[in-house]
């Protein structure tokens, strides 16, 4: 898909005015975080498992070449093929090439964010191969010709009425008077329509949650079972995976699987966790005749060895966006590409460049919730700060912001002047705002006061209060009071 991350501000403003989106996002905020918390509280070892998962992934990243080569050897030993692809274009061409070996007319697809990343559907369509999304959420947004707004719940921005409209428009062979207002009816209709598609597809494409070096297996985690039908019924199974999905052993995958579903949906375990190794064996009555793994780099190795390496531990659970106040307010489409929320704010600049996606790491309140719920303990806020630094160094931030920062730096480097200036400003604003206790508008602060009031200072700066308190205390009593700690 064509990124619009550079237009984040306009996208976000539009999203904030969208009342329907508000209702849809309320469904999410009421759901995922509470379910996650209940699941985490039920497993006393959860915190220790986070450390174990982080250790595994850090170990893999330090030895990525070794494990990728081991994975390839084992895929080949079981009769599969590994295709190494540097770029999105190489991956698209590889997949199209495989489809053409069987003269494929249609391919079914399991949900894959990497496929979204390389815009696979558009490419297949342009080359005469019809891609059919089979995850219910992906199917809905494919009918609506829009990108996913969430990495595990792609249609989370929609209400059931949207789905009904999309189904009535697409499934014109069905009775136009059929009842279709309930999620149950919608689910049944999609099931019936897609069953026929599974049977007629020539190729099935899935993503992978894990690649196992030890066995050459690929792993998908779903609740619907669509990924399983996608890979079991057609002649060819293609797995599209980015190369950081690798883990050494089945035991390592099991450890991280204990974190994945709990962090994502709050389930103890997803309904279907499937390990696929090679093509069908001689004598098997079903399963694909060919097994291909398309191993995609597309900018990952460029993050290795940098301050963004930790991001490659991400297991795409979505906990960060589920808990993010910014995602919860603007939704996934505002981020303008495949990966929204905090993980997208770190990953997207890494994959698309800071010139395209520099707004995203700025769209954060730095509340730290994302890092605190991340099962892989990825320091997301810290990495957003790194991107802000890079943006500043590349002189990409707006000139008003840059000159404002310079002005602040001038005062900050001259403490006496800083105290005098802030003291004066505090007294002045405190005096002006004494009546209402707040300002509804203020020169130079329109960006703040256009949408909310600015509380008036009480007349003294923090530093002057601090100095006064220190003077009245005994010399050893230097612990902060709760009030001043909160103000830090």
């Amino acid at each position: 898909m064509q990124p619009t991350s550079h237009a984040f501000k306009a996208n976000a403003r539009q999203a904030l005015d969208d009342g329907v989106l508000r209702r849809a996002l309320d469904n999410m905020r009421g759901g995922f975080p509470a379910k996650r918390l209940a699941a985490v509280n039920r497993l006393p070892e959860f915190e220790a498992l986070r450390d174990a998962g982080k250790t595994i992934k850090d170990h893999v990243l330090e030895n990525l070449d070794f494990y990728l080569e081991a994975f390839e050897r084992n895929v080949v030993a079981r009769g599969g093929v590994v295709h190494w692809c540097r770029t999105a274009q190489e991956a698209r061409d590889t997949i199209l090439g495989i489809c053409r070996t069987v003269d494929a007319k249609t391919v079914t697809k399991g949900k894959s964010m990497v496929a979204e990343e390389i815009a696979l559907n558009d490419y297949l369509e342009a080359n005469g191969v019809e891609p059919i999304e089979t995850d219910l959420g992906e199917y809905i947004i494919q009918l609506r010709h829009e990108p996913p707004s969430h990495i595990i719940a792609p249609a989370i921005h929609l209400l059931k009425e949207h789905v009904e409209t999309a189904f009535r428009a697409a499934h014109t062979q069905l009775d136009p008077n059929r009842p279709l207002s309930e999620p149950r009816q919608l689910t049944d209709e999609a099931r019936a329509i897609l069953r026929a598609k599974f049977q007629s597809a020539d190729v099935g494409i899935t993503g992978a949650n894990f690649l196992i070096a030890e066995t050459g297996s690929t792993v998908i985690v779903t609740n619907e079972g669509n990924g399983d039908l996608t890979q079991t019924l057609p002649k060819i199974h293609i797995v599209l995976a980015s190369l950081e999905k690798i883990v050494p052993t089945l035991e390592d995958a099991s450890t991280i699987l204990r974190l994945l579903a709990r962090s994502a949906t709050g389930q103890e375990f997803s309904t279907y966790t499937t390990f696929s190794t090679g093509p069908r064996r001689p004598g098997d009555l079903d399963g694909p005749g060919e097994f291909h793994v398309v191993l995609l780099d597309n900018g990952r190795t460029a993050m290795l060895g940098t301050e963004f390496q930790d991001m490659l531990r991400c297991i795409r659970c979505s906990a960060c966006m589920n808990h993010c106040p910014v995602y919860g307010a603007v939704g996934g489409h505002a981020y303008g590409w495949v990966y929204p929320g905090p993980m997208g704010s770190v990953l997207t600049p890494g994959l698309l460049g800071v010139a395209e996606a520099g707004h995203l790491p700025n769209a954060s309140t730095f509340c730290g919730k994302c890092e605190s719920v991340c099962p892989m303990k990825i320091p997301l806020p810290k990495m957003m700060r790194h991107w802000r630094e890079r943006e500043f160094e590349a002189k990409l931030s707006p000139s008003a912001f840059r000159s404002g920062l310079k002005l602040w730096a001038f005062f900050a480097k001259r403490p006496a002047l800083y105290r005098a200036a802030t003291g004066l400003a505090t007294r002045l604003l405190g005096g002006l705002g004494r009546g209402a206790g707040r300002f509804r508008s203020l020169p130079l602060a329109g960006g703040w006061t256009s949408v909310r009031d600015l509380p008036a200072p009480e007349g003294r700066s923090f530093q002057s209060l601090w100095a006064a308190q220190r003077a009245t205390r005994r010399p050893h009593a230097t612990t902060l009071s709760p009030v001043s700690r909160a103000a830090q």
């Binding site: 759901g31 070449d65 619907e224 190369l243 499937t274 390990f275 190794t277 004598g283 009555l285």
Partner: protein, 236 residues
């Protein structure tokens, strides 16, 4: 060098350059190869690991029922066909099913229920009910582990609306790690089954307004006939 070979070489070289080193030598890769060969276990939660076998069977049943799997405990293997037939009657389902052509299922006296029409094959779209064995079951999360081979086609686990699994109590293990150990013992040469399905409850989706619907693409009902288990302990 072909285009594909150069892509591979370039990706590996890029990784090594980023990690500021060359290819791993013998000394550095030996411990990694040993880690793969020994596949050490990581932290395992106490939930299932701390229980005896009866406790694990009870935990398995409890966890499975939480996610809408239904479980019927049958003490005597000869009662399995009756349990299957009665389940179908209770659900108002036809007494017609497709069953895995696995000789292990021949241990049950299906001929005792002549009204059950049984086909031994992979599943087709029209099949409403399937019966399969399991490889193992994981108590920790109420999860079935089903493996594919010529007698255990994967389609049986996915296509029919109702999936019935005949599980022996001695197949219930505590954590996932014990299931991997059993699999490695069963396939000592590493020639894994093509497909290993871990299944925890019937198919579901929350993609429309986060409201859970069962039977999204896979079975709507998942029923386990658990053979040889002692009766569940009373609540007291």
């Amino acid at each position: 060098m072909s285009e594909a070979a150069s892509a591979r070489a370039q990706i590996l070289a890029g990784i090594r350059a980023a990690l500021k080193r060359g290819p791993l030598g013998e000394a550095a890769s030996a411990p990694l190869a040993a880690r793969l060969a020994q596949h050490p276990r990581n932290l395992i939660p106490a939930r299932a690991a701390s229980l005896d076998h009866a406790g694990r069977v009870d935990l398995f049943v409890g966890m499975a029922e939480e996610v809408q799997t239904t479980v019927d405990r049958v003490a005597d293997p000869k009662d399995v066909p009756a349990a299957v037939a009665e389940y179908l009657t209770g659900q108002n389902l036809p007494a017609e099913l497709v069953m895995a052509p696995d000789p292990a299922l021949d241990a049950y006296p299906w001929a005792d229920r002549p009204m059950l029409r049984i086909r031994r094959d992979r599943a087709q779209d029209a099949d409403a009910v399937s019966v399969t064995p399991a490889f193992a079951a994981i108590a920790e999360t109420g999860t079935l582990m089903l493996t594919s081979d010529p007698t255990r086609p994967t389609t049986l686990n996915l296509l029919p609306d109702t999936h019935i699994v005949v599980l022996r109590a001695d197949q219930v293990v505590g954590p996932y790690e014990e299931a991997w150990t059993r699999l490695r013992t069963a396939y000592p040469n590493g020639d894994w089954p093509r497909t290993i399905n871990f299944i925890t409850g019937p198919s579901r989706t929350g993609d429309i307004e986060q409201r859970i619907q069962l039977g999204a693409h896979g079975p709507r009902r998942l029923h386990i006939v658990l053979v040889g288990a002692a009766a569940a302990p009373s609540a007291a």
